[in-house]
């Protein structure tokens, strides 16, 4: 079975001496260990996100990600949602990850048990490139991963694994009925228009 390839973004804080040069998850603030595998750990706590995590905490195996929880290492199936997020914050960088272990697959992405960064992509804006060149050089050196153009990222990542993006399901009966209704209203309006004109 192929390892899973996904795309995500990280924050790298240039002003924090402790985390500088390290990839950090923007939500959970987990620091990704250089040259090592990151293992997911459920951080949901009672009173924080809970009801659902309460079930997880009593899971005998304690494996994260639990399908009914929100824990795990997140990655998108496609690069588009990743690039959208990059435009919002100046020190957010995108890249590809390789995942394995338990993988909970969602339509837009996956939550993984184990992950390692595969590559980072160069920011698209020349201004951001200039401002972050030294920082990105430091990060890629630390993690021993390449810094690639965005257009090359997917081809590079697919050398290591495969996408587990689910096939889109057939449109639901309800949606089909709505389309039928819309068409019939349009036909009726056309007939009325014709009757008035004729």
């Amino acid at each position: 079975m192929n390892l899973a390839v996904g795309y995500r973004f990280w924050r790298v804080d240039p002003d924090d001496a402790w985390t500088r040069g390290r990839l950090q998850s923007p939500v959970a603030e987990t620091l990704w260990p250089p040259l090592e595998t990151l293992e997911a750990e459920c951080q949901t706590r009672p009173g924080l996100r809970l009801a659902r995590a309460g079930l997880h905490r009593h899971d005998e195996q304690g494996v994260s990600p639990e399908p009914s929880c929100s824990c795990g290492i997140y990655a998108y199936h496609d690069i588009t949602p990743m690039t959208r997020a990059l435009r919002e914050e100046p020190y957010m960088f995108g890249g590809a990850v390789l995942c394995w272990g338990r993988i909970v697959i969602h339509p837009e992405g996956m939550r993984a048990q184990h992950a390692r960064p595969l590559a980072l992509c160069r920011p698209e804006s020349p201004g951001v490139q200039l401002r972050t060149a030294a920082l990105l050089a430091e990060v890629t050196r630390e993690y021993a991963i390449p810094l690639l153009e965005l257009r090359d990222l997917v081809a590079y990542a697919s050398e290591f694994g495969a996408s587990y993006k689910p096939e889109p399901g057939p449109p639901s009966r309800r949606r089909l009925d709505r389309v039928k209704d819309a068409l019939s209203w349009r036909q009726m309006a056309r007939r009325i228009g014709k009757a008035f004109r004729g």
């Binding site: 272990g101 909970v104 697959i105 939550r111 991963i145 290591f160 689910p166």
Partner: protein, 43 residues
């Protein structure tokens, strides 16, 4: 990051036996020039 939709599937991918960051090795591809090169007898 966060997903708004419910999970559709859970899979288990075994841990890679070798270093996962090494791309699978490929057979070196012969170039046209190599294929067209005339075969010369050893002198």
């Amino acid at each position: 990051m966060g997903f708004t939709s419910k999970p559709v599937r859970v899979i288990e991918i075994p841990e890679p036996a070798s270093e996962p960051l090494l791309a699978p090795e490929r057979e070196p591809q012969r170039t046209e020039r190599e294929e067209e090169a005339p075969v010369t007898a050893p002198v």
